[in-house]
Every structure is written in C-alpha cells, then in structure tokens.
C-alpha cells in the first residue's frame, strides 16, 4: 500500500489534473482510491462526473452559554487561546468562527454553564471510478473557516482503506490544511510551472515537505512556456523531475470542459503512462 499526495504551493498549477488522471489510469488495473482534500474548492469530480453518495456530515463543536448559570467570572475568556469568547458585565459573546472546538471553556467553567453544541462544518461524499476505484471528497460549508477538520475526516477514511494505491489531491498553499493533508503520506508529487511564482511557491512547498521528511518528485506543467528556472533548480539540488507536461491546446480544450485527459487525449495518456513507469522506477509504486 502506498499513499501519494499531490501538492503545489501555488494554486492552478495542475494538481487536480495530475491527481485525477493518475488515479484514472491506475484504476484500470489496480485498486485505487482518490481523495479530494481541497475541501474549500473540491474540483476532482468536475472531471470525474461521478454520481456521489453522501457518506457523513462533519460537525464541529461550539460553546453555548447558559446565561442563567453564568456568573460572568471570565475564566472561559481568559483561558481561550483563540479569543472565541468575550465576557461582558451582562452577558458572554461567542465568536464561533474563531473557535477551535478544543473544549477547554466548557471543562473549566465552574458553573457548568457552557455546553458544546455541534454544528455542520462540512460533508463527505463518495463515488466509484471504473469499478476498481473509489473516490472521496470533502466539501467545506460556505462561511466555515476551519478546513482541517473535514480534511482529517477524509484522512481517517484513507487510513482505514486497504487499497493498493491512495492518491490525495491537496489544497494549494502551505499552511494548516496542506500540512494536515501531507501527514503520514509516503510520497509527494509537487506540481509547478516554470514561472517566478511557480518557482517561489515550489520552494515553499519543498521546505514544508522536507520538514515533514517525506520524499518527493516534481512535475513541471506547461514546461514549454516561461523559462528553465525549474530545470535549473532541480539540477542544482538533485530533485527528481517526474514528468513534463506541455502547454497544449488539447489539454486546455479538455480541461475547460471538465473532461479527463485519459482516454480523450492520446498524447496526455502517454504522458501519464510514462509517469507511472517513472514512479515505479523511483520505487514509489
């Protein structure tokens, strides 16, 4: 069993394209599961077009104050590291969007005036790819700030599954949601483009992946536009380039329509076949 994360730092470099097409091609012969961890903007199913079934709701606990019991002692607000409570002389204000649901306020309240009420943070859905593959996606509820909870629910589903290969499509960036996505993965594919922004954000992503001590390789998307900065970076630091994807009108055509490249674009299908060979050579698969 292997868990491969697809990440990038910069958004829009082609994470979903790589994750979806890699999973589609692998699912032709092996048990594969694909997880869309970009719960803020889940896009994989825009290409897969699967009929998804609801698997579970993800709830977050938030404090609710019983004003009849509350003595406005202020202990809860003093203890809360996230400023999610403000104790005023007459009542307590809560800021649910700042709450991390740690439960400390409710535990510490000397009057037992705080109960934790659950509310919806996100949902998890699933579908089937090519008979052999399973797909899972999380969707953060609009106006919810904390994405990590729904991501970690998806990660626990991934952990329980016995599929030969698990592909995780991560959100862009480099903070909490990305780190939650990367934890306990075996290999990371970093997708970038040969522009100053692509290089800048790739370096940030590499720093995060190195901190977590996960081996990685690089895919250069649109390798024939921009310049040779990623090639140089890879040569200078001995980073493995797994694949170069050209800037092609065909890819834009299928991408913009929400169609996968596998089975539609023969050139791209060849590229992904090569990617699988390279991942085998690297002992990832």
């Amino acid at each position: 069993m292997v868990t491969i994360a697809v990440a990038s730092g910069k958004g829009g470099t082609g994470k979903s394209t790589v994750a979806v097409n890699l999973a589609l091609l692998l699912s032709k012969g092996q048990n594969v599961s694909l997880f869309d961890l970009d719960v803020e903007e889940p896009n994989d199913n825009q290409f897969l077009n699967l009929d998804l079934t609801h698997r579970k709701d993800v709830h977050l606990l938030k404090p609710e104050i019983d004003e009849k019991k509350c003595t406005h002692c202020g202990i809860c607000a003093d203890l809360c590291e996230f400023n999610a409570l403000a104790v005023l002389p007459a009542y307590v204000m809560t800021f649910p969007e700042l709450c991390h649901a740690c439960g400390l306020c409710s535990y510490a309240c000397p009057e037992q005036a705080i109960t934790e009420v659950s509310h919806l943070n996100g949902i998890i859905e699933q579908g089937i790819i090519n008979d052999n593959g399973n797909f899972f996606q999380g969707t953060l509820k609009i106006s919810e700030a904390i994405a990590t909870l729904t991501i970690s629910e998806l990660k626990s589903i991934a952990k329980e599954r016995q599929d030969e290969i698990k592909v995780l499509d991560l959100p862009p960036g480099s903070s909490c949601p990305v780190i939650e996505g990367l934890r306990n993965t075996d290999y990371v594919i970093l997708v970038t483009e040969p522009t100053p922004a692509g290089e800048h954000d790739l370096k940030i992503a590499i720093a995060v992946v190195k901190m977590l001590k996960i081996p990685f390789g690089i895919i250069i998307n649109r390798f024939d536009v921009g310049d040779d900065r990623i090639e140089k970076l890879a040569t200078d630091n001995n980073y493995k380039i797994l694949l170069r994807i050209p800037h092609s009108d065909n890819i834009i055509y299928y991408y913009s329509r929400g169609m996968p490249l596998i089975d539609n674009d023969p050139e791209s299908t060849k590229l992904f076949t090569n990617l699988i060979s390279t991942l085998k050579e690297e002992n990832v698969l």
Partner: protein
C-alpha cells in the same frame, strides 16, 4: 478608504496579474497588500524594497518538561487534536495550542509557548507602498497573519490618506480568505471560462454574499471556452453581479511573469486596454 480585495476561489486564474495591474493603474492613490501569506506572489511583480520587518507571533505550542511529568495521562484524555501520543509525547505539528493539556496537568509540566507565525514587511514599490508577509514554514494561523496584514495595510492607507487599498487574496473560501474580507468594500472575482473555475467562483460568490460585500467579476483568459464564458455571464446576470471586464487569452502573459512586469508594462495592448477599462469601472462601483 475603499478596500478592494481580489479573489478567485480557484488558484491560478490570474489574481496576482490583475492585482499588479490594478496597483499600477491606481498608482499614488493606493496602498497594496498581499494577503496570500501561504504562497505570496505579488512581490515578484512589484519588486518591493522592504523598509521594516516585523516578526508576528500568533498561537502557542504546548511544550512539556519531561522531568516534571508523572505520566498520569490527563493530557492525552483531554486533547482533541490527537497531539499526545500513547507515551505522552506532544506532536508539535498537530498541536493547536489550545492549552487544555497545560490546564489539566497536575504537575504544571506543560507550558504554552508563543509561536512565530511569520514576518510582515512594510515596503515601497515603483507604484506605491506595499504591505506583505511570509508565513513561517509549517506555520499555523495563516488567517491571523492575514488579519495582521489587513490591519497594518488599513492603518497605512488611513495614515497616508489614500483613496484605495488593493488586496491580493489567496485561493479557497476558508480561513485566510475570510480574514482578507475584513473591512472589504468590494471583492473583484477573477475567474476563467473553465468548468472548475466557474464552479469555484460560485462558491466564493456565496461566501461574499454571506458577508454582504459588493462583488464584481473579471473574466480572464476569456477566449478559451465560449460555453463556459456564457455560463459565467448568465450566472452574473442572474445574481446581479457586474462583469467589469474580460481579458483575452494570450500566451505572452507568461513572458510578463518571467520578466517581473505587469501586463501593462509588458506592453500587451489589448490586455492593457481591458485592464485600464476594468479599473475605471471598479472606481465607479
């Protein structure tokens, strides 16, 4: 002061290119800020000189004094983030810094230590003053760092009595995006005619509607898919969202990125005219 936040939902649709061009067009009437602290890119075009650097602390980390620990396990019982192992070691990567473990520890063996979230830079550029930041590798609380950037940038806009604050945001709809919306008067959504970008824009639009902020749309790469372009137009008509302009697709934009130029400086005449007209429409909103 008018705070204009450039967002997209999906990454890579052109937020930074549009923000840079708007910064140039607003010139000495504005302050600029980059609120994508995870993967900041606006500085790659604005090429700032940093005048002041501030270390921003946010959030805490539980640190245990092994000698005082009596292995009672109370910390493990209360931690909701899975950050305490079976042998009572604290996992720094998953610790949310809530302080529950420290609160219940009978020996006072766990202390909560403030963490560096990142650096905030007060800078000047060829177009005007610029506030930007960089999240520490693996840093938590990117939302709080974004809030600090907004806070500094708003203060600067007021102090220098400028008319506009132009903010380049991050992809997604979660914590850092919500933080960048604080105080916003207008959100410019940069989208592109692809199925995924349209899907993501709709989620972003729901978020902005939730916060009751005025929104407008820029269709970038408008020529790559006519059907999807029409989808954007009908969505905007149905929801009464003004489309302030369209920028046709041109591969030359990659040359501008590599040169560190704005689209106007690269002298792409059609695209530059579009952006000039977009800025004129934005001012009127």
């Amino acid at each position: 002061m008018k705070q204009i936040v450039v967002l997209s939902g999906k990454g890579g649709t052109g937020k930074t290119s549009v923000s840079a061009a708007l910064s140039q067009l607003a010139g000495d009437k504005a302050i600029f800020a980059d609120c994508d602290v995870d993967a900041p890119n606006l500085h790659l075009i604005l090429n700032p000189t940093n005048n002041k650097e501030e270390t921003f602390y946010s959030g805490k980390l539980a640190i245990k004094d092994e000698e005082s620990c009596i292995n009672c396990g109370k910390c493990l019982e209360v931690c909701r983030f899975g950050s305490i192992s079976a042998d009572f070691k604290i996992d720094e990567m998953s610790c949310e810094g809530c302080g529950f473990c420290s609160y219940v520890c009978p020996e006072g063996a766990i202390s909560m230590v403030p963490q560096i979230s990142g650096q905030i830079f007060d800078a000047t550029t060829r177009f005007g003053p610029f506030i930007h930041a960089l999240l520490r590798v693996g840093g938590e609380n990117s939302g709080k760092l974004v809030a600090a950037v907004i806070d500094r940038a708003r203060k600067k806009t007021e102090d220098l009595d400028k008319e506009f604050l132009i903010v380049d945001g991050s992809p997604g709809v979660g914590c850092p995006v919500i933080a960048a919306l604080s105080g916003a008067n207008l959100v410019v959504m940069v989208t592109e005619p692809t199925k995924t970008a349209v899907h993501d824009m709709k989620r972003l639009s729901d978020l902005i509607t939730h916060f009751k902020i005025k929104q407008a749309v820029v269709i970038n790469k408008s020529t790559i898919n006519l059907d999807q372009r029409n989808n954007i137009i009908s969505y905007c008509e149905e929801n009464d969202i003004p489309i302030v302009g369209e920028i046709p697709y041109n591969k030359q934009i990659y040359t501008a990125f590599v040169n560190g130029y704005t689209i106007l400086e690269q002298d792409l005449s059609i695209e530059s005219d579009s952006l000039t007209s977009i800025w004129e429409k934005i001012i009127e909103l």
